[in-house]
Symmetry: C2
DNA sequence: ATTAGCACTCTCGGCCTTTGAGTGCTAATT
DNA sequence: AATTAGCACTCAAAGGCCGAGAGTGCTAAT
């Protein structure tokens, strides 16, 4: 599918005009916009052909034309320039993401920011693919019935658990177990923590209260949970600002989709670092068939990677949005990759 | 304001019919519903008087009547029975909240649940009023440049921080500092950690690298953050299901309000355990003036308390919603109050 | 105090007309 | 062969009109 230079210019102009106005674009309007010195009739002929090719469509016979999904696709692939981020925005992004002294909230902050500067709902998921292992164990004695398990993970996050038991656990036993766990369980993925190995540790520690099994259980749970993905969604009300979602039914479908974590996990992600765009029916998800998704992937090393994206009408300034998302994703990766304290938080009040 | 028995019955019937149908209620419809043996004309007269009193209103001259905010208020205060929770719902609630083996997510789970069973957007905030202090410190050596700060707080949550420094910190120093912090800083609120006290600790430990100040800084930050409230909002798309929010502008206002954490914090909360209802203009927040808020407070002891509420149209089954929220809040309080491990979590992937 | 009866009001849906934007096509022009 | 002026045609959107129906308020009778 190769378009004449003039067709390209016309398609580009239609897309960009439509993005700005949300109204079908007429041949006369294009004539003013473009500085092609041709009459509106010629432009009409070209538009007609673009319609034959499935790149433009008319809402009804006597209206102007607007891009189809394929039209947007061509625009995105071949015609749009790369949007850039203004000085102000760049500063705002650094301000919000970099300075956030709660690194674990960086992802959620980034999502909020993305929804703000794109005026669209945004979602972010932090994934932990690959295998997470424990690097270091520490058991902190509090009293005979209470102690804390602290685990430093291979991805530099620290997890902890306060354990309260009816049985008595003496500091000496905890010290011994601490050493045994550090000897036997570091560097091992959750799957390698077999019952035999646990039983062996229990014997080695001379534990008769079963506390070894309890600790092992928590450790396994921690390792498992760390692999689970977490998602945030923010700025959902932004969707309602856009004229294409004045239809409540449409808006409901998309917002309903976004509030379902299960569904969200199924959204496709770019393979490598970079931005990917899904236009209208290109989305597998039924609910997103008249929306577009722009999503960026980041990789912060140490098994930490994730995606951050926005959902909006197909009529969207793809260049701008893609540039901003990509910039935010980049900033996020840096913040997360820094050796800066990542482990923190905890407690019932969180999340 | 004391109503005749008959007026009460009529008002009650109007409210309940309107809750079910979303249509203004006519005198004839009431005649069928109520088993008062009076004619529709009599009912009309009564309704007229109720309208004079500001409890009912007509959308236009020749329509039935619906309750005003004051009408709902009287209904809620004096007329409605106490809704009860069905067996099935009770089970679902226990299932979801109790069994959640991630206690720190209990609040967010409860909010999701609330929005599900009420079919309304729901919000929850966990607050930590009162003063949180540290009960126990532990510094875990990892290598010469890395260690973990673990703090057990007075509210039984455990917080941690992975610290990476350019300077060298030997295990011996950490052990010493650990003892000093436990001696000097336990039981003290963040405000009591004066620079003098920190300097004194530094001298006592013979620390020349400044690591003491770094640790103190983190501890203060942890104590401060723990007092900060956290909020969750879920099920926002539910709002759009209700006929009164087919008007996108209205829906946008409410959803916009809900996505602004700052605003949310300003919502009034019940003083003690219990449920409070704010109808229409009773809400101080401008954006909620044509919505109602039902909110329950729970207290899980140990300085952990919070609220969980829903936002919906003024036409809402207050009895049902209040009963369900109250039940959920109760369940949540129990789960959180249990000695069960509360500290856990951490790491960049969370929240 | 209640009620039957009736006139009155107002919304809602359907139908028609007008208006205006924008197109497609044809015939002339370069 | 490509372009263009010109014009007839189409269609959505907005406004006006009408009839139907629901429900009320009021009056006069019980």
């Amino acid at each position: 599918m190769s378009l004449s230079e003039r067709k390209k210019r016309i398609l580009k102009a239609v897309v960009e005009d439509y993005i700005g106005s949300a109204e079908p674009v007429s041949s006369k309007a294009l004539q003013g916009r473009l500085d092609l010195s041709v009459s509106s009739a010629t432009i009409r002929n070209e538009m007609n052909e673009l319609e034959q090719m499935g790149l433009l469509e008319q809402p009804h016979t006597s209206a102007g034309r607007r891009p189809t999904a394929s039209g947007y696709r061509i625009y995105v692939n071949e015609l749009m320039g790369s949007g850039d981020v203004t000085q102000d925005e760049a500063e705002a992004i650094h301000e919000k993401i970099r300075k956030g002294d709660e690194p674990s909230n960086a992802v959620s902050d980034a999502s909020k920011l993305a929804s703000q500067i794109t005026a669209l709902p945004s979602y972010a998921m932090q994934a932990m693919p690959g295998v997470v292992t424990a690097q270091r164990f520490e058991l902190v004695y509090i009293d005979d019935h209470t102690f804390i398990i602290v685990v430093l993970l291979s991805n530099k996050s620290v997890q902890n658990r306060l354990v309260t038991l009816p049985t008595v656990t003496k500091p000496a036993l905890l010290t011994k177990l601490s050493a045994l766990f550090n000897a036997s369980f570091t560097g091992k993925p959750e799957g390698d923590m077999t019952t035999e190995l646990i039983a062996a540790t229990e014997r080695a520690a001379g534990d008769v209260t079963g506390v070894t099994a309890v600790i092992a259980g928590f450790v396994m749970e921690i390792l498992m949970r760390t692999q689970v993905r977490h998602t945030v969604v923010s700025g959902t009300s932004n969707l309602l600002e856009h004229p294409e979602f004045q239809d409540v039914e449409k808006a409901r479908r998309v917002l309903g989709y976004l509030s379902n974590e299960q569904e969200l996990l199924r959204l496709p992600a770019p393979e490598a670092d970079g931005v990917k765009i899904f236009i209208g029916a290109e989305n597998v998800a039924e609910a997103l068939r008249d929306a577009s998704v722009v999503v960026a992937k980041y990789d912060a090393g140490d098994n930490m990677q994730g995606i951050i994206g926005v959902v909006g009408p197909t009529r969207m300034d793809y260049a701008k949005v893609a540039a901003r998302l990509s910039y935010i994703a980049g900033g996020l990766a840096k913040v997360l990759a820094m050796g800066v304290p990542i482990g923190e938080i905890s407690g019932g009040e969180d999340e």
